[in-house]
């Protein structure tokens, strides 16, 4: 380890920033892959992997990929919910790794909903 000079701390801090964002749970966007038994059976695992690889490849710092349980519409799994800060969550159905790449590029990073894959915007009401 070469000794640091003033101004070089930032580079180390930058490397760890994504890790810290994850731990703080604060990110501009969140991708939830629904991984109930139905989701897993329909291939949710590969969809999640596609999201994670893509986030890695693009070095997107403020995206959290997480999992959730069955969303209730088992026939349309794998399902994914995308939450951008300050916007209603959007649910995508019949997801594949290829679709995942497009959703990440256009919606998660670009802000434009991929309407042809989307089921609906908003969450069910809970009591």
């Amino acid at each position: 380890m070469p000794k640091l000079k003033a101004g070089e701390l930032e580079a180390i801090a930058e490397k760890g920033r994504r890790t810290m964002l994850l731990r703080e749970g604060e990110a501009r966007s969140k991708v939830l892959v629904h991984m109930g038994t139905c989701g897993i059976a329909a291939g949710a695992r590969s969809v999640m992997q596609a999201f994670m690889d893509e986030v890695d490849r693009r070095d997107a710092k403020d995206v959290i990929v997480s999992i959730s349980s069955c969303a209730g519409l088992c026939s349309r799994e794998p399902m994914v919910t995308v939450e951008l800060q300050g916007q209603p969550p959007v649910k995508y159905v019949d997801m594949t790794p290829e679709k995942a790449k497009r959703v990440l590029a256009e919606h998660v990073l670009g802000g434009a909903i991929v309407t042809e894959y989307a089921l609906a915007a908003g969450s069910e009401r809970t009591l």
């Binding site: 000794k3 101004g7 701390l9 760890g16 920033r17 749970g25 349980s69």
Partner: protein, 604 residues
């Protein structure tokens, strides 16, 4: 390599003693068996705070808080939460008196009302990885002072912030630094006092275990401000994990050029050595601490002159004080000074222990009331008992009665109430505790720990203890109250160091607020809390006893007689008052009655 989940398992001494290392191994095993090792990272973190509920696991990014997570339940947790995305409710925290668990850490009242400055990285970083400390603004304050501030400006910033010593005395940190910066002599020293000795206090240990670099960075900034080139961390041997993490942290800081010569290429030289103390309570006193480093007998001496290591200008601050320094430099003195009360700024870390639901480590803004700490954060008193007193400041502190629960916590107000801030030990005492017995406990401690230099402390502590012991055995006399008061004041006035000057506090504050209880012990020979064995008795209520013999079966001393289905009787000459019969009686027929038996009194 990116992970979707960081499983932050607490590996502080408290959680480790509850089995968190087994939990960690079980987590890693279960994660591997599901092939999730590329998704989920297990991170050892420190000082989750809710120590009584350990082992603690916090799952990020969602902040799901799991408690009492023993290794045996880990496979189910991994399958449900990590594989299927269903957080496991039965392993979550349920607030006292409620039924529904609270999944997220930030929603739990214990955490919600805390404000973290000294403990800013708790549960967020692996304390053994300097990169993670740096990623949370670590060493940024050191870089700032070395590249853009004069030592004068650093001292002004600390003075403006209003930071005061967190070790107990509350001396303004900036003024302390200023006096050493202008003092003549080289080399100058900075010392971190981690000789934490109050019973039930573990603030300093937790800070070092959770975030050792925060202390190192604070010390380096202090060293720059006063012109010191060498530092010591004085930490007791009883804290092996804190010692280990501090040694690793110092080595990492050296490797990265953050300690040693020419730090960050700015021409500033400073290095730290770790000094392991043998665990004598008196070594936490600064003059004794310095003598201990010099290899001499740690007997406190008169001040002034100022405390100096090897006759050179020396700054000694507590662990928590040092940990507060980097955020003040990063965020500014005014940010810090807006928190707290007029004369006590910022936050204070307390270790809350005793008769309380959420025993553990809390950091709260100065000026918070005791009521908020005990009931909102602490979750109140278990088993529906009433609060009797809060003891702050350990053996140097005093009892604050439940009637003063709305007292805002700061240096001046606690002093005025006859207690003290101390280093942050806070013991919650319920109605089943006897104040005479508690005072006796602290005096036994100080009698053991007095260094013996001053007669007033050495003998005074012992005599105070013996009087209290006599009172607890039913042999107290009416004149004892005045004697305790006079002797306590004499010990306070005649002793040289903080240990002797403050050791009568538990007695004096007990007399001040709980005079009735002393009178009950002395005049009525009665301990209403049922603690002093000579001053209460168990009796079986003839009308309520159903003759089930549960008491007789559970009495190891054969002190209960009675035929099945007939009324039972306790034999006073054999009874040791262990309370086993009281606990097991299904009809509540065993009563605890304050006051000694007449025959016993006659013997006295």
């Amino acid at each position: 390599m990116a992970y979707r989940v960081h499983a932050m398992i607490c590996t502080c001494t408290n959680c480790i003693s509850n089995g968190s290392l087994d939990t960690k191994r079980a987590l890693e095993k279960a994660i591997r068996s599901h092939g999730l090792q590329t998704d989920i990272l297990v991170v050892p973190a420190g000082a989750s705070g809710l120590c009584v509920r350990g082992p603690i696991l916090v799952v990020q990014p969602d902040g799901i808080f799991y408690q009492r997570l023993t290794a045996d339940v880990v496979p189910r947790l991994v399958e449900e939460h990590f594989l299927k995305g269903r957080p496991v409710k039965s392993l979550m925290y349920v607030p006292p008196g409620e039924k529904m668990p609270i999944p997220e850490l930030r929603e739990i009242p214990f955490f919600k009302d805390q404000r973290l400055i000294a403990l800013r990285n708790r549960g967020m970083i692996d304390p053994e990885k300097i990169e993670e400390y740096i990623a949370r603004d670590g060493y940024k304050a050191l870089e700032k002072v070395l590249t853009s501030m004069t030592s004068r400006e650093v001292i002004e910033e600390i003075k403006t912030s209003g930071l005061r010593g967190r070790g107990g005395a509350g001396f303004p940190t900036g003024r302390k630094w200023e006096s050493r910066a202008t003092a003549k002599g080289t080399p100058k020293y900075v010392i971190c006092n981690a000789d934490e000795g109050d019973p039930g206090a573990f603030m300093d240990r937790s800070i070092i275990e959770a975030d050792p670099h925060s202390v190192i960075e604070g010390m380096a900034i202090g060293a720059y401000a006063v012109g010191a080139s060498r530092g010591y961390v004085y930490v007791r041997m009883e804290y092996p994990l804190a010692v280990e993490r501090m040694i690793k942290a110092v080595a990492q800081a050296r490797e990265h050029g953050l300690l040693g010569t020419d730090i960050l290429g700015c021409g500033f030289d400073f290095d730290i050595e770790i000094f392991r103390g043998a665990g004598a309570f008196v070594c936490g006193e600064t003059t004794a601490l310095v003598l201990s480093i010099e290899g001499k007998a740690p007997e406190p001496r008169q001040r002034p002159p100022r405390t100096e290591l090897w006759g050179k200008p020396t700054v000694i601050n507590n662990v928590e004080t040092w940990a507060n320094v980097p955020p003040i430099i990063n965020w500014g003195a005014n940010w810090f000074a807006q928190m707290g009360t007029e004369k006590s700024k910022g936050t204070k870390v307390f270790s809350v222990a005793g008769n309380i639901h959420n025993a553990g480590l809390v950091e709260v803004p100065m000026g918070i009331t005791l009521r908020e700490i005990v009931y909102d954060i602490g979750g109140g008193i278990p088993n529906g008992k009433k609060l009797k007193a809060v003891q702050t400041g350990g053996p140097s502190g005093g009892f604050i009665p439940a009637s003063l629960l709305d007292l805002p916590v700061d240096y001046e107000r606690l002093d005025a109430a006859g207690a003290m801030m101390g280093s942050g030990g806070m013991i919650i005492i319920d109605e089943d505790s006897c104040i005479v017995d508690m005072a006796k406990y602290f005096l036994a401690f100080t009698t053991d720990e007095s260094c013996g230099k001053c007669t007033s402390c050495r003998e005074g502590s012992d005599v105070l203890y013996r009087i209290l012991d006599r009172i607890s055995r039913g042999e107290g006399e009416e004149s004892d109250v005045d004697l305790l008061q006079d002797l306590g004041e004499a010990v306070r006035d005649a002793s040289l160091c903080g240990l002797g000057q403050s050791l009568p506090n538990p007695v004096l504050s007990a007399l001040r607020y709980f005079g009735d209880e002393f009178q009950a012990h002395i005049r009525d020979k009665a301990c209403h809390a049922g603690v002093c064995k000579a001053l209460f008795r168990y009796e079986i209520d003839k009308a309520a006893c159903k003759g089930c013999a549960a008491c007789k079966k559970n009495c190891s001393y054969h002190a209960i007689e009675g035929e099945p289905k007939a009324v039972h009787r306790i034999l006073p000459e054999k009874c040791i008052k262990c309370g086993a019969c009281f606990e097991v009686c299904p009809s509540d027929a065993v009563a605890r009655i304050p006051g000694a038996r007449k025959e016993a009194l006659a013997a006295v």
